[in-house]
């Protein structure tokens, strides 16, 4: 074997390069999957057309279209904040990817407090949304930004509870340890606790990504696109499309890591161990992404007050009870 020693800064550069490749590619794959899954589910003809076979060029055409658009900044907008907001949205999402273990030894940073970091950094992009909404000098954008802030507060809690359940079961906050602690059939087991936690996490994740049925902050038939109403061109792509897709892939990866056994094979067979963990991880991530995509064409959007009621009166009590139940399980089973 080679014996390569790299200086700290060299390792850092490689890590940065990897993450800057993985995130856009992940977002592109997510966008492509969204086009195709929705086209199949809804008899859409458009996404099946560009490029010939199966409309393979749809995502490409979409990207080029947005690249060529003019970057408009409204005259009344707060220029600096307006220009900086897409970055404030995008950077935390990129940072989520840092701790997700793709394989046993394939993780950018194995933090001891990985789960904690994940949850903390994941909610940061709301600040970017508030910046975008406020600086746009647009009432629709303002309503959208406030909606997204309210939604974050309400739906961050179910996610935290669900993640806490996993941490209690695994006895660690490091994501590698969590995966290692999960033996088939993973953390969705025990059925009363793990399954509920998984559902809780999925619902919270959909709300956190502001996707249907919890897409009130960007409800296009009501408040145009909420905080992104005034954005165009690449800024729009980065703040909305890319962020949403990046978020979705990240949440798919988190769910796969926390609940579906991450890079481990789906059934404990000796022969399956020979398949690299990367495949298992991405397979499970794709499954979660498909689940997220499937939800979108199925449901209408809930109303703002119904959304809050659902979170505070149902999800959060369920989460609290769940934590108690997990404590009992860990202590006595």
């Amino acid at each position: 074997m080679f014996d390569i020693t790299l200086a700290t800064w060299q390792i850092l550069v490689i890590k940065v390069l990897v993450i800057l490749t993985v995130v856009p590619v992940g977002a592109l794959v997510g966008g492509y999957a969204e086009h195709k899954v929705m086209a199949h589910l809804q008899h859409r003809l458009g996404p099946m057309y560009p490029g010939g076979w199966h409309g393979w060029a749809t995502t490409l055409a979409d990207g080029i279209k947005f690249l060529l658009k003019e970057d408009i900044i409204p005259a009344a907008a707060d220029r600096k904040v307006f220009s900086f907001a897409p970055a404030a949205i995008m950077v935390p999402i990129i940072m989520i990817y840092l701790v997700i273990p793709i394989d046993r030894n394939l993780v950018i940073e194995d933090l001891d407090v990985g789960l904690f970091y994940l949850l903390a950094i994941g909610s940061l992009s709301t600040i970017g949304l508030l910046m975008a909404g406020w600086s746009s000098a647009n009432k629709y954008a303002l309503i959208g930004a406030l909606r997204s802030a309210a939604q974050l507060i309400a739906y961050e809690l179910p996610i935290v509870f669900a993640a806490a359940v996993v941490a209690m079961l695994a006895g660690s906050l490091s994501l590698i340890d969590i995966v290692e602690a999960q033996n088939f059939p993973f953390a969705v087991w025990p059925p009363g606790i793990g399954l509920v936690a998984f559902l809780l996490f999925t619902v919270g994740a959909v709300a956190e990504m502001t996707r249907v049925p919890f897409d009130m902050p960007v409800a296009e038939s009501e408040i145009i696109t909420g905080p992104f109403t005034e954005y165009s061109g690449m800024r729009y792509i980065f703040s909305h499309m890319f962020a949403e897709m990046g978020h979705m892939v990240a949440f798919g990866g988190i769910a796969a890591t926390l609940f579906l056994g991450g890079y481990k094979p789906i059934v404990p067979l000796r022969i399956l161990e020979y398949i690299p963990g990367v495949f298992w991880f991405f397979g499970k991530t794709m499954f979660m992404i498909f689940l997220f995509l499937w939800i979108r064409p199925t449901f209408p959007r809930v109303r703002e007050d119904q959304l809050q009621k659902f979170a505070w009166k149902f999800l959060i009590p369920v989460g609290l009870v769940l934590i108690l139940a997990t404590g009992a399980w860990v202590l006595y089973v």
Partner: protein, 383 residues
């Protein structure tokens, strides 16, 4: 600092006492807004998520139809009125043809009458499916849009083969039709309509059976019976408020009295009922088309019409059931080739006048549901 003054039902989340001091904000919904289907403006006063009141502002699309028609002869007017309500073009042409025929005392042959019924009802299906699609989209459910458009396409193709147009058909003439239907019309029309009947339950389940959809629409935007009467609301919206009126049944024109169909109505007057009426009417229209095609008589498609269509002096008021409500045309003729005056009563105009009554004290999201459930076409409001 203006505290909110409007009455707030206790069920609202904001609570009455000890709440935060808030300020009202004026929000211009439109003239360019995805939920208004065109250049329609709603001057909304909102307090956070609560809509205190809203006033519809119309007139952005005024094209002066009633003046235009005074400069054109009757055959030209057919093509003009077809463009008033662009979703139900052929239904707009009907009252004009009927009015001129009544003034000129022209007997329309039965085949033309049957074909008129078939085309009108197919157009009604097109219109209703369109609103089915857009209502779903407004509530965030995007799938109904694509399903409904797939169904529309089948019927749209039959209409296109028959009339040559997809939206503005220009097919009715005083005295009959422009021409007879093409070969294969009967089979294709039956096929399209039966497909709609067959797939309608799926569509209903997709939306009506959805819990979120029910929560978004039931008891939202209630237009009670009395208010519906006093605003002159007609069509599916009035029937959704429990008013059991349908010109096709009450004052049958053409040959509607020969078909069996139900007038769909629902008692509560909320968004859900309006939508439910709309969806069921698609099935009823399909039933009428089926019956009319089965009973389609042979014969000419044009009555005895003089070379120059010249209505004798007099006046006549004709009302028909447009997909969106009652469409009335009051035609005054002084014996010229052009009308002296043509007053048009369009359904959307009366229907949107009830909007501000319904919109007061709702949520911003409800506003979209209500706008979507009022099924209006901008061209039909402003003319």
């Amino acid at each position: 600092m203006a505290m909110t003054t409007g009455p707030k039902p206790a069920s609202r989340g904001a609570g009455a006492e000890g709440r935060l001091q808030t300020q009202e904000m004026i929000l211009n919904v439109g003239p360019q807004h995805p939920a208004t289907h065109g250049v329609f403006r709603l001057l909304a006063t909102i307090d956070g998520e609560i809509l205190i009141n809203a006033e519809p502002v119309i007139g952005y699309m005024h094209r002066g139809y009633e003046k235009l028609v005074e400069q054109r002869d009757y055959r030209q007017i057919t093509n003009l009125v077809s463009r008033m309500d662009w979703l139900s073009g052929i239904n707009n042409e009907l009252p004009l043809a009927l009015a001129v025929e009544q003034l000129m005392e022209i007997e329309v042959p039965p085949r033309a009458q049957y074909l008129r019924v078939i085309l009108c009802e197919m157009n009604r299906i097109l219109n209703h499916l369109m609103f089915f699609a857009s209502f779903g989209a407004e509530l965030g459910a995007i799938t109904p849009t694509f399903y409904a458009f797939r169904e529309r396409e089948d019927i749209q193709r039959v209409m296109e083969a028959t009339t040559g147009g997809r939206m503005h058909f220009g097919f009715f003439r005083p005295g009959g039709l422009k021409e007879d239907v093409p070969r294969g019309f009967v089979d294709e029309a039956l096929k399209g309509v039966r497909q709609v009947i067959e797939r309608l339950p799926d569509y209903e389940n997709l939306l009506v059976g959805n819990e979120i959809f029910k929560q978004r629409t039931i008891d939202v935007g209630v237009l009670d019976r009395e208010a519906a009467y006093s605003y002159g609301v007609t069509g599916p919206i009035a029937r959704g408020s429990g008013i059991d009126m349908d010109v096709r049944k009450d004052e049958p024109y053409l040959v509607y009295d020969q078909f069996e169909f139900d007038v769909c109505s629902a008692p509560n007057g909320d968004c859900f009922d309006r939508f439910w009426v709309l969806v069921r009417e698609v099935g009823e229209s399909a039933r009428i088309v089926e019956q009319a095609i089965e009973g389609l008589p042979p014969g000419p498609i044009m009555g005895k019409v003089p070379r120059v269509v010249q209505a004798p002096a007099g006046e006549v008021y004709v009302r028909t059931e447009n997909p969106l409500g009652e469409l009335g045309m009051y035609l005054v003729s002084d014996g010229d080739r052009r009308p002296y005056r043509l007053k048009i009563r369009t359904p959307s105009y009366s229907n949107v006048s009830a909007l501000s009554h319904v919109l007061a004290n709702t949520y911003v999201s409800d506003m979209i549901a209500i706008l979507g459930s009022f099924f209006f076409v901008l061209g039909d409001i402003d003319r």
